[in-house]
């Protein structure tokens, strides 16, 4: 599960006209990047090959049947209803903490991002085990909206902070009141952030397995898992996977075509001054009540529920817990290192040698990683069995799956780091008598390390919480915190699941802290 992709394809530095064509990447480096890109394209290739290999005559009856129609209705309803809800909660919350005098703004700013620290399947478990009647579409919408609205909140808050207050002041001087300014000036400028955040929410809704399985709500992803358990990676699972992947790609196209060519950057120079703050006055109390209810439902109930289950018996005494922790650390750490190693060359090429082709390579990896984890896992299972049977059910396949799922997280961090170490600094070091290699070690590497560390941490923490692909790919006997949690929950041993849930939440907190800090930093420029 990918938590956030708040800055997909962030704008790089403009290609320096004077240095155009001055530096070309070496042939060996290019080959390396191309190989990495091909690996990231495996899931896309898998989806395409389903159509080609299985053939339409076999696929059609598998796709056009009542069950698939029902799944399609469920999934579309989920996306169409939950995404706008997340946008309203995310943008509204962002505006409240950034532009009003709501008491405790700083605290709310952090609390509103806090639900990200609770994996959706843990949230689902907490609600189901507390209120057993929660189920179906209503339950799915409820839990998913509370879990995913921060994916809109973070980019929206960053965008609001980046707005030039002068625009709002100009609108006021032209005779518009606070509400009119919000709807006619602020909201239109948030379009990119809202669409981007909405896309990520929608992709998560398509990809989520655990929460919806617990809430007994059937989507494509839960149905693929059921098919996989009964008939393995057969035509039925593949056909559903192809439909799911198509839905994802349609969303990507929809989002990118909505972006248009408008620019929302601040035009002109000068330091922006502090924005005017909207005084809530008599709305303060209702606003506080609303925010309090939201946080109570999104964070309070799940955490309380987990703590309550921890109190039954002695769940911390399970012997499997320690083993799961070690396995998780090993798989997540290994996955993170592999992911960052794959991200570094791609980011380096696109920042240091900007060109249309190199940007396209980077873009392709983002698209490939937008596919749901279950499709990526199905693709790796199929490729492993067909091409390299020795790799099936090995640690390497799990690590590769993590790399494909979490590559955007690493790319965003690493490319920001490389952009902070412009080539001009290396040149300055060379003019001071340092060899090119020495200059890179003394200047570029230290500047790069913090973002590489952040990227590694983000991937590792995300991988530690990954459920869907790990369920499909983990070697026999390997159990992570997420899969350990899952088998306890599936057996309705809610108390046994509680320590896993608590550890999963604790592991997510640093990742959310890093994302929160990164989104703040991105808007400060």
């Amino acid at each position: 599960m990918v938590l956030t992709r708040t800055t997909r394809n962030p704008p790089g530095p403009p290609p320096d006209r004077k240095r155009r064509g001055a530096s070309r990447p070496s042939a060996g480096f290019l080959v390396l990047v191309i190989v990495i890109t091909l690996v990231t394209l495996i899931p896309i290739g898998y989806v395409v090959s389903i159509g080609l290999q299985i053939g339409w005559s076999t696929l059609a009856p598998l796709i056009f049947r009542p069950k698939v129609g029902e799944l399609l209705v469920n999934t579309v309803l989920l996306v169409v209803i939950a995404t706008p809800l997340c946008v309203v909660l995310g943008v509204g919350g962002a505006w409240l903490v950034e532009r009003t005098n709501v008491p405790g703004r700083r605290g709310w700013a952090i609390l509103l991002a806090a639900p990200l620290a609770i994996p959706a399947f843990v949230s689902g478990y907490a609600w189901v085990s507390a209120v057993s009647s929660i189920a179906g579409l209503g339950g799915g919408l409820f839990v998913a909206t509370l879990a995913y609205y921060p994916l809109v909140y973070l980019p929206a808050a960053a965008a609001i902070r980046g707005l030039d207050p002068a625009l709002e002041e100009s609108a006021r001087s032209l005779g518009y009141g606070s509400w009119a300014v919000f709807f006619r000036v602020v909201l239109p400028q948030l379009r990119l952030a809202v669409w981007g955040g909405g896309l990520i929410v929608a992709l998560h809704l398509l990809a989520e397995y655990g929460a919806f399985a617990l809430l007994r709500f059937d989507t494509f992803t839960t149905a693929i898992m059921v098919q996989f358990q009964s008939s393995f990676a057969g035509p039925a699972a593949s056909a559903l996977g192809a439909v799911l992947a198509t839905l994802c790609l349609m969303l990507l196209v929809l989002e990118s075509s909505s972006r248009g060519r408008a620019r929302y950057a601040r035009v002109g120079s000068g330091v922006p001054h502090a924005p005017t703050v909207f005084a809530l006055r008599r709305w303060s109390i209702p606003t506080l009540l609303g925010l309090g209810t939201l946080i109570a439902l999104a964070v309070g109930v799940p955490v309380t529920s987990v703590i309550r289950w921890l109190g039954y018996g002695d769940p911390w005494a399970q012997p499997a817990l320690a083993a799961a922790l070690v396995q998780t650390a090993f798989l997540a750490g290994g996955g993170a290192v592999l992911t960052v190693l794959m991200a570094l060359p791609i980011a380096w090429l696109s920042v240091r040698h900007p060109s249309r082709i190199n940007r396209a390579i980077e873009g392709a990896t983002y698209v490939a990683s937008s596919l749901p984890a279950i499709v990526i896992a199905l693709a790796l299972v199929t490729v492993a069995i067909r091409v390299a049977p020795a790799l099936y059910q090995t640690t390497f396949t799990v690590l590769l799956a993590y790399a494909l799922i979490f590559l955007p997280r690493a790319l965003v961090s690493v490319r920001a780091g490389i952009a902070q170490a412009p080539i001009g600094l290396e040149e300055a070091a060379r003019a001071l008598g340092r060899s090119p290699l020495h200059a890179r070690i003394r200047v570029t590497l230290p500047l790069l390390l913090p973002s590489v560390a952040a990227g590694t941490a983000l991937v590792a923490l995300g991988a530690a919480n990954e459920l869907t692909a790990t369920l499909l790919l983990a070697p026999n006997g390997v159990r992570t915190l997420a899969t350990g949690f899952w088998s306890a929950t599936a057996a309705l041993r809610y108390s046994d699941a509680a320590p896993y849930a608590a550890l999963l939440i604790l592991l997510s907190i640093p990742a959310v802290a890093i994302m929160f800090a990164q989104s703040r930093k991105a808007s400060r420029r």
Binding site: K18, R20, A22, A428, A429, R430, A431, L432, R434, R442
Partner: protein
């Protein structure tokens, strides 16, 4: 002290020729300022001299040692050439002291050299423990210069080092940089798009236009005798008037003018370069009659628009005069204008 020689240096980037046959000689310990508009290739010229890029043709010789030519190429870090980038390019993760000491290999004398470099650029030592982002723009620029001067390079290259600074700060920083360079006795090349800055900075200035060095020499010489009308206009306000050459002088609406240089080919029409500062205006006195079209007041100065001579050969000029002369002029009145000094002739 080191001399620098460029001979026929050319460079293409991305299929476009950016520099064409550049030759220049900078004598040991002197300052050269290369001036050109944006896109003229001046930054590329510095990058070739620094060794960040390799010239396609021509040679670069440093103190008799070829550093770039058909057979040899010395990389940037072995040239001993200091370089100050436009934005300073200070290492953000290092303190000011570590930045200045970055190019010093000898640990025992490092602290001493850093302090000497600070003294050269008049940087207070209390800044040494700060990080670059804690300094103002002018201070950052001085740190960048100190860092480049610390290893005692024979040549130092400055890429528009003052363009990021405010106007007031710029003149002050320029003077202190010139002082530091003279104390360090280092051969210097500066590139800029500001002709005024170039003429104040360099012992010699070079005019770069579309990748070609149009003219190179002492500022007075280049300003007094621009080889092309384009250069003349680039270096300062210029008035071109049609003239008839006659017996070593030039007949014009301003009367017969003395000629100091003649760049016309003798056939066809000819025009003369007059700088506005050469025009002297009086209410009554010697000179050609001119009509005042309009008068504008700009605080300490006034600007008047004049039409000299009758149609069809009338010439419009705008002059800047001190404020106390305001009562002498009113729109519609007639004044006398004469040209002081000599002119340069070009083909029209």
């Amino acid at each position: 002290m080191t001399s620098l020689l460029l001979d026929g240096v050319s460079k293409s980037l991305g299929g476009t020729e950016v520099l064409h046959g550049i030759s220049l000689r900078v004598r040991s310990g002197t300052r050269a300022a290369i001036v050109g508009s944006s896109g003229s290739g001046k930054s590329t010229l510095l990058r070739l001299i620094a060794g960040f890029e390799r010239a396609d043709a021509g040679t670069i010789v440093l103190d008799g040692r070829p550093v770039c030519g058909p057979a040899d190429f010395v990389p940037a870090h072995r040239r001993g050439i200091g370089y100050v980038a436009q934005d300073g390019a200070l290492f953000p993760h290092l303190t000011v002291e570590s930045n200045i000491g970055f190019g010093l290999r000898d640990r025992t004398s490092r602290r001493q050299r850093v302090l000497e470099a600070c003294e050269l650029v008049n940087l207070e030592t209390r800044f040494l423990r700060r990080f670059p982002h804690e300094l103002s723009g002018g201070q950052q620029q001085r740190v960048a210069l100190a860092r480049a001067l610390a290893p005692a390079p024979g040549v130092i290259l400055l890429d528009e080092p003052f363009s990021a600074l405010d106007t007031g700060l710029r003149a002050h920083t320029r003077q202190s940089v010139i002082g530091a360079l003279e104390r360090a006795e280092v051969t210097t090349i500066l590139v800029t798009h500001d002709q005024d800055e170039a003429m104040r900075f360099g012992h010699e200035i070079g005019v770069l236009e579309n990748g070609r060095m149009i003219q190179y020499g002492p500022p007075d010489e280049v300003f007094g005798d621009p080889t092309t009308p384009l250069t003349a206009e680039f270096l300062g306000a210029a008035i071109f008037v049609p003239v008839q050459p006659r017996q070593g002088r030039a007949e014009s609406a301003f009367g017969a003018l003395d000629v100091r240089h003649d760049h016309s080919d003798g056939a066809g029409a000819v025009r003369a370069l007059i700088r506005p500062e050469q025009l002297s205006v009086t209410a009554d006195g010697n000179g050609s009659p001119a009509r005042v079209k309009s008068v504008r007041s700009h605080g300490s100065h006034i600007e008047i628009d004049l039409t000299v001579g009758g149609k069809p050969d009338s010439i419009d000029v705008t002059l800047r005069l001190p404020r106390y002369r305001l009562p002498e002029f009113s729109p519609g009145c007639t004044v006398r204008v004469c040209v002081c000094g000599s002119v340069v002739l070009y083909d029209a």
